[in-house]
């Protein structure tokens, strides 16, 4: 327990009352009850060798490398499992011959059957076995027998390879898979020196988190197909970065060599991703280098041609300036805060428009109002730690394992400690099962009604201090859901968190890249807000456009109807819009289209000016994760020749006669200078509950590993994705047979059938996986009515 004590005038000193006094290597120290010897020693800077020990895994005391002497105990004890008690006198290898000899003995044993192939091993140079053999091992071995041999390597999954002869059986990988990821698909097999890690026949280690096992392997036994034999650690340059894939906000380490990213690792951030990340964040980075647009282009006689930067900027500036007041901006969901802010500023100052949106997905006016009232610029109220300590977490239109995997890991950890996870969803997904979650079965479209008729016990749980409601971006597609979530939060006192899927959405919202909003959640119509922002931007408040801009579907429809003379488009994939045909028609209808992109797309194919921009490794910036926590990152390739979106926009603005900052430092300073908004806000939406349509209704979300464009270029990663299937009820499955055809207005897909505990009349398919892209293939959104028939029949 912690009490606060006034130790002196004006100083609050925290005094812990549960401390015990122990001695390690003659140094007296105080530690909380329950502290392990190895952790306490670390605090003193005493490094006890270890292999099986990992601070986030339960101790097993299997490798015995950390044996130390405890006064009064007849045998050496494993420091990784020995809990300190008051008065305990511990002697490590630095003050005890028993401990030193025990550790040397274990090290000798560990190296017996180890191939010592360090010169060709990927781990060589960053290998705990290598390092600790040097620090605590004997210089020579007494073993001259035959070492155990295994066929090498074996694929435990398409992505993860295992060289069994290097393994020291520490079981970190198997414990991670079981305890952290909840995917116990690898385990130790056989016994004695033949003990080895393996999988069941035909059940590969297809876990979304499998790459973490490679990172925590203390030897070179586990390697990834992506990195194996690619580099030596000492040839790499490491830069701390932030993951750009989802809104989990993982801290990463990017290692590059000769201007190319060689690998990415999860970096240690106890408040966010702890020491983990998902395989998408780890392995999906080939897109950074492959297929890039390398020079500006201008459309001439219907064809794009390469242009110089000055020419392209001049053409873009002219076309956009001519459209002032009649232009729209599509930012995309993957911008940094700084870039999104530059778009928001550019729209209002150069284009004189409030027709701007960052959302490339299903949206609704209700969602726009919800974001403006309840999310934009709101202070951080719910954190990862808050989830871990929450008595209950209600998930609404949100599948954490697929849509924000680090939220999933933290919720799973919380659930193991007693947090009740409850999900409003069509069926219990694998992720919910792994969180021991409770399902409130809900037909797509009926989420609002479910929230408004929540079981009393769940409502009571949400009333407990610290409870959280997490609502996903898909809630926008179900009328009344966001309104009901706000109501529920107000009624129960639970905190409300909105979890978008893309890394840039929360930042873009806070930066004002949404119609009606200025930075920090300031309403564009609010006089004080206008005055503050106009001052920051060096213009008169009257020069700002009115706050009746269009967003979402209305923006696209306006474009299609020829309202805009110009469109400024950031990183936008038209197929990600719920109606790709509408989005394509919108681009086609605009008189002049400027595309800031790093890869060719359906937008660049239609653009009049294409301006290549930097990817995350070529710029610095900030993502804001779902918590609202800024996740700044620095430039990996400092000599990159590419420019960020903000820099390019600054150049266009300049050519159009408007001064706008383009460097990250100035943008941050300007945005920071505006500070938080304390004035009036939009009111929260209060929409009536929608209904699920009659007949068969479609449930869907994006799988973590799917046909997303940023995952291109890594077939090993793609091979670990979940299969594209249609999930139906057992009765429906029996009627359908092995495959089912799902038909919507735009066409149909035929998929293998998987039976689950899902309501009759609901079919789930992945939103954008190989062989099933619901927007393009079916022409539908989740919650739509579809036809379901036995496979093959249309």
């Amino acid at each position: 327990m912690t009490v606060t004590n006034n130790a002196g005038p004006g100083s609050d000193v925290e005094v812990r009352t549960d401390l015990i006094t122990v001695v390690i290597d003659g140094v007296e120290m105080q530690v909380p009850k329950g502290t392990l010897v190895i952790r306490a020693a670390e605090q003193l800077g005493i490094e006890i060798p270890r292999f099986c020990d990992h601070p986030l895994l339960e101790p097993v005391a299997a490798c015995r490398a950390c044996l130390i002497e405890v006064e009064g105990m007849p045998k050496p004890q494993p420091a990784c499992a020995q809990v300190l008690s008051d008065g305990m006198n511990v002697k490590t290898q630095y003050s005890s011959d028993v401990a030193r000899e025990a550790q040397e003995g274990v090290m000798e044993f560990l190296l017996l059957n180890h191939p010592l192939d360090c010169p060709v091993c990927d781990k060589g140079g960053e290998c705990p076995l290598q390092n600790q053999a040097m620090s605590v091992g004997r210089p020579d071995t007494r073993f001259d027998g035959a070492k155990r041999e295994f066929e090498k390597p074996i694929n435990v999954s398409a992505q993860i390879l295992l060289d069994r002869e290097r393994c020291v059986s520490c079981a970190r990988c198997t414990r991670f898979a079981d305890q952290i990821a909840g995917d116990p698909l690898i385990d130790l097999l056989a016994r004695g020196a033949k003990q080895q890690v393996g999988t069941a026949d035909d059940v590969p280690f297809d876990s979304y988190f499998s790459g973490n096992t490679v990172q925590i392997c203390p030897v070179g036994a586990l390697t990834s197909a992506s990195y194996r034999f690619r580099s030596r650690p000492f040839d790499l340059v490491s830069v701390p970065t932030t993951c750009e894939h989802c809104a989990s906000g993982c801290s990463l380490r990017t290692d590059y060599r000769r201007g190319v990213v060689a690998r990415r690792l999860a970096w240690d951030d106890p408040e966010v991703n702890e020491e983990w990340n998902c395989d998408k964040g780890r392995y999906a980075f080939a897109y950074l280098a492959e297929g890039r647009i390398d020079s500006p282009m201008i459309r001439e006689n219907g064809e794009l041609r390469v242009a110089s930067w000055p020419e392209a900027i001049a053409v873009a500036a002219q076309g956009l300036a001519d459209a002032k007041g009649r232009a729209g901006v599509l930012v995309g969901g993957r911008s940094t805060v700084e870039d999104a802010y530059a778009y928001a500023r550019f729209a209002r100052t150069v284009l004189g428009t409030d027709d701007i949106d960052f959302r490339v997905r299903q949206t609704s006016d209700e969602e726009t109002q919800f974001l403006a009232s309840s999310v934009a610029g709101a202070p951080v109220t719910t954190t990862y730690d808050g989830l871990e300590g929450a008595p209950a977490v209600l998930l609404v239109s949100f599948e954490p394992e697929d849509e924000s995997p680090i939220v999933f890991l933290r919720l799973r950890k919380a659930a193991k400690r007693g947090t009740a996870v409850v999900s409003v969803a069509p069926f219990a997904s694998a992720g919910l099962t792994k969180m021991s979650g409770r399902l409130l079965p809900t037909r797509p479209g009926a989420e609002a009604a479910a929230l408004r008729a929540l079981p009393e016990d769940v409502r009571a749980q949400l009333g407990e201090d610290g409870a959280v409601i997490m609502v996903g971006e898909r809630a926008a597609g179900s009328a009344g859901t966001l309104s009901a979530a706000v109501e529920l939060a107000q009624q129960t006192g639970a905190r409300l968190a909105w979890v978008p899927r893309r890394a840039g959405e929360r930042g873009a919202l806070d930066a004002g890249a949404l119609a009606g909003l200025l930075p920090g959640g300031r309403p564009l119509e609010d006089a004080q807000a206008r005055a503050q922002v106009a001052e920051a931007w060096g213009i008169e408040p009257g020069e700002l456009p009115g706050g009746n801009g269009r967003s979402g579907q209305a923006l696209l429809e306006a474009a299609r109807d020829g309202v805009f003379d110009a469109l400024l488009v950031g990183g936008v994939e038209l197929a990600d819009f719920p109606d790709p045909a509408l989005a394509t028609a919108a681009i086609d209808a605009a008189g002049f289209v400027v595309s800031l992109e790093n890869h060719h797309s359906a937008v660049t194919q239609r653009a009049d000016v294409v301006l290549p921009v930097a990817v995350v490794t070529e710029k610095s910036g900030t993502f804001i994760d779902w918590e609202g926590r800024p996740r700044p990152f620095s430039q990996v390739f400092r000599d990159a020749l590419t420019m960020s979106d903000a820099r390019v926009l600054s150049m266009i603005a300049s050519a159009a006669g408007v001064t706008a900052p383009g460097d990250v430092r100035s943008l941050r300073a300007e945005l920071g200078g505006l500070g938080p908004w304390s004035g009036g806000r939009f009111t929260a939406p209060a929409e009536a509950s929608g209904e699920a349509p009659a007949g068969t209704v479609l449930a869907s979300w994006r799988l973590l590993l799917d046909a997303g464009l940023m995952q291109e270029g890594n077939p090993h990663l793609a091979a670990t994705a979940r299969p594209t299937v249609a999930v139906v009820s057992k009765a429906t499955a029996a009627a359908l047979g092995e495959t089912a055809t799902v038909t919507g207005p735009a066409g149909s897909v035929t998929l293998p059938v998987v039976a689950a505990d899902i309501a009759d009349g609901v079919v789930w398919v992945p939103m954008n996986s190989p062989g099933c892209h619901i927007h393009a293939d079916l022409g539908v959104v989740p919650g739509a009515s579809v036809q379901l028939s036995a496979g093959g029949a249309a």
């Binding site: 045998k75 044993f109 130790l188």
Partner: protein, 433 residues
Amino acid sequence: MALTPVITEHWDDPELFTIDGYRRHGGYRALESAIHQDPDALIALVKDSGLRGRGGAGFPTGLKWSFVPQDGKPHYLVVNGDESEPGACKDIPIMLANPHSLVEGVIITSYAIRANHAFIYIRGEVPEAIRRVANAVREAREAGYIGKNILGSGFDLDVVVHAGAGAYICGEETALLDSLEGFRGQPRLKPPFPAVAGLYAAPTVINNVETICNIPYLVDRGVDWFRQFGTEKSPGFKVFAISGHVNRPGIYEAPLGITMRELLDYAGGMRDGREVKFWLPGGSSVPMLTADHLDLPLTYEDIAAAGSMLGTGTPMLFDDTVSVVKAVTRWLEFYKHESCGQCTPCREGTYFITGTLERFEEGHGTDREMDTLADLCGQISGRSFCALGDAAATPYPAAMKYFRDEFVAATSTPVDQQFDPAASYVFSGAIAR
């Protein structure tokens, strides 16, 4: 000292394994009295008797039972019938010949510790024993000794007979629990001890088969009767299973405190009038003793004082046709084969030692390797995760203590040239030379 057949008293009755045969000799009389007694009184009775665990460690049984918290939460009795120790062959004969004494003991013990579920884990390689115990449980259930409201006492009990899958390590009690739960058998980290968090994380008492078989007789005949056998620290009688180069190997039930020499006489002495060269009081995991130790009383305390352990109480005797180097190598090969692989010292140490010993056996050992072997045993003993590692580190140091010369000889001459292997076969007389 006279033999004292108790558990083995009626083994000559071919029907003893049936419930009728067992009841003919007073079977289930103890249960009928115990089931109406205060459970705490039964625990006190066992405590007072001084009965010590017969599985090898000799932990006081009544004390173990008293550790189980009686807070109304579920807890279990698990019987360890995974007898796999080289040289140990007492539990399996008991389960074959007198399975109902085990079942009766299980019911009384479960009642005493207030467990409503008991599990009998039997070594998978002996289907005959599994069948007999399973049959005994079925008969006991049909007779109303197992099930709901046993003998009108209000006490419910279910007994499950579970077959092991062939791993020595599953005789280690926490590995046994993992195996019983359906996992791969590997020892668990302690604490928590099974008495606090054992099977399915519930408080669990784990007793050896022979220990449990003592219970009906103890309950029926009382503490005074029990304590007339044995010593103050090792009261009672013991099922000694004698094997090796003796004329009549087999089961001899005698009071604790009988000497090896007396037991050897019952077993007809060494074959062909040969001398005892070395012997192990209780399985391959205890240090060997020599002919000089034949007059030691077989008690936990006396054997420990001589530097060995009573262990399972199943003496193995070897005559002078046997090479100590060869015997130690065979044992180490066993431990290497059976090491579960969880901890480094046992997994790698047995691999290293065995390979080295095999070279000695071929006459290719070196003086330096003799020291290395001693070192390696020191690197395992007290450093491994469970007692299997300690056991693997036992044979070599004990052998070196008494028979160093044989290892020295093995640095130049293959063992088979020093000792004719055929001569050491138990049935050597039957083998044509």
